[in-house]
Symmetry: C2
Subunit: 400 residues, 2 copies
């Protein structure tokens, strides 16, 4: 039986946590100095373990196993959201290192920009499967500060490096360990989650145009207040979506930016970031149809016109049943009765890798369900347990 | 009869428009380089006309008439909103110059920061009437970039200058010419508005605390989404305020800032700027009571708590009946039948000056009612007409 070295695994995680440390979390936005430092750290670790380490033109760090196949691919992302948690992504990369260190025939990969600091998102995993064009790289900008992706790649020293593609037939499947980013496991008192599938995110921008004006001189009847139209539209989504959603659907308004955003000025424009997620394409389509209908109603009733821009419509993906069975057997072996099947509400690199090979994911509990915040955390014993479950599942699947 | 020099008056306005020019408007935020340049320009103009020019420790520019009284005070503000119109404020200052140039015993003043670039707002007029403490100056910050007021005053070279107070008994009354910032005059085909009173603005900040979390891992039932609570609260204000407002009340949500404002993160905090305005204190109190009640209801129903912070509660002020009569007579003399009485929906320096002496205001039409935007404009012939009405009214009132 393959056994992971818990001390080295946790040691790696805590070493990586020092890079870009922010309070108890980390701040490692994609291609930042801290992010590139973490990629260099990972390449050193890969080399120590005996993997052939490289970084490609989009920032993917790849550690190729030198021995015989069949091989597995394992990994996640190493950059973080801004001022966010130390485990989101990093856990899956360091666990993949632990599998390789334990002697499993595993290629380790840190997929670049899963967190979507740049428009498009999932740049690394999409590049690996041939789903990222040069034109998209030309156009994409940083969502926080507007830096062109090309500029960021140049500043990170990646210009001119070739972009790696997955080698057809090399991998029997891909594994990813990740924190749950929810409270399902914690609330049920469980220690591991075998992921059945990964939801798709459909992301939209809603732009509402009004008339910027003085908040005192303009009567209520005369106004074309883009902010008020935004509030009414979002309130209608809040009322209607529960009637069309699935049991695990989520929908989120992440930003409502009113222009110019001053106390005494009627907003001339509202810029809204809105997304929803589900595992079923029919549910996603129903939610989109409702959104379109609510915007049409708004445009009939309001003096400010709203328009909907599609920013991204991913495809949900189901995990491989054989790999899932291996994960379940390994979980039952190491923590009998204290695991469950569950969907992933968050997007992950595996949803793109899964277009090219069988994939499976394992979740560790998240304390308080907190994620995308520096207070994110998981108990060390749960981290160690899940790393061991992943290794045992890999072993089972390779022998299957 | 006192006659204003239209050519010089319009010439001054167009000269001032060059300072901080932005498209067809101006960008002269308080204490900025452009704003201080406009204050220096004004002092030169005052000196040319024979006034004794000075600037005080809060940035008020004062041109003291050297001759015998009884005197009038006239003026407005010279800074602009960000990237806003060329007449808002500037018109009243330049018209006051025109009155002094025409030989009227007028002290001219540009009151600092009517536009409220700094917390508190109306710094200049409030300082002149003794309503601005050193402690408030210590605490106030720029609402756009957070610069401390003390720092901004130092950068503008105003540190150490004494703050001027109005000289008791010196002025028989104060006049202010301003653009309407609405469409009432234009829609009625009128050329001047004699202001009956100035509404008070009650300005609030609503802060809603939720739990920042991952938008995929956290189910709808588990969420504490500060942005969603904000939308529901603002929708309830939209529903309830029409039942408690007066016929000319206005209410405005100028900003809804969700933190951190990212597409895949449930907002952990919402920061709302909300204000309402009316001429009657009883209506203002009724609107505030409704706001407090809606927030209490929200706090009973929602998982995110909202708290209300009062940023400012001004007192509405009625214009002086004798001065108003002088304005009406002058308007009827120069543009018979083409003027009306009207309240001011916007706040103005006169509401503070009015606590120390009789005040009156005259409005020019605003083309399309546009204000606080660089496209703000008024016809030259209306500007010239209103300047002349103001001078005639001043003469009538001085003789009354």
């Amino acid at each position: 039986m393959t056994t992971t070295d818990t001390e080295k695994f946790l040691g790696d995680l805590h070493e990586l946590r020092q890079i870009g440390a922010y309070k108890t979390g980390v701040h490692r936005p994609t291609y930042s100095r801290q992010d590139m430092e973490s990629r260099a750290w990972l390449m050193r670790k890969m080399t120590e373990i005996g993997l052939e380490a490289s970084i490609d033109g989009i920032g993917n760090v790849y550690g190729r196993h030198k021995g015989e196949g069949p091989h597995l691919l394992a990994g996640s992302h190493i950059e973080s959201q801004n001022y966010a948690g130390w485990l989101d992504g990093a856990l899956g990369v360091v666990a993949a290192l632990a599998l390789a260190r334990a002697g499993l025939p595993v290629d380790v990969c840190a997929y670049a920009d899963e967190e979507g600091h740049f428009e498009g998102g999932f740049l690394g995993s999409r590049s690996l499967i041939g789903d990222l064009s040069e034109e998209e790289i030309d156009k994409a900008r940083n969502r926080t500060d507007g830096t062109p992706l090309r500029q960021a790649l140049a500043d990170a020293g990646l210009t001119g490096k070739p972009r790696m593609q997955l080698e057809p037939g090399r991998h029997k499947g891909a594994l990813e360990l990740h924190i749950e980013q929810g409270t399902k496991l914690e609330q049920a008192g469980l220690r591991a989650g075998a992921v059945t599938g990964i939801v798709a995110i459909w992301q939209f921008r809603i732009v509402i145009d009004g008339q910027q004006d003085h908040a005192g001189g303009t009567t209520m009847a005369e106004r074309r207040d883009a902010g008020l139209t935004a509030v009414r539209l979002l309130a209608s989504i809040d009322r209607e979506f529960p009637h069309v959603c699935g049991p695990r659907s989520t929908w989120t308004t992440g930003r409502i930016a009113l222009e110019p955003g001053a106390p005494s000025i009627i907003p001339g424009r509202a810029n809204i970031l809105f997304q929803f997620r589900d595992l079923e394409i029919t549910v996603l389509e129903r939610m989109e149809a409702t959104l379109v209908q609510l915007i049409q109603e708004s445009n009939r009733n309001e003096r400010c016109q709203a328009r909907l821009e599609v920013m991204g419509k991913a495809t949900p993906i189901m995990c491989d049943p054989v790999m899932l069975a291996a994960l379940e057997a390994a979980a039952e072996q190491h923590t009998p009765g204290l695991w469950q099947r569950m969907p992933s509400g968050a997007g992950h690199d595996s949803q793109y890798i899964g277009r090219k090979m069988p994939v499976a994911m394992l979740f560790t509990p998240s304390i308080g369900g907190i994620s995308h915040h520096w207070t994110e955390n998981t108990k060390d014993e749960d981290l160690a347990l899940c790393c061991q479950i992943l290794a045992s599942a890999a072993e089972r699947f390779l022998c299957s």
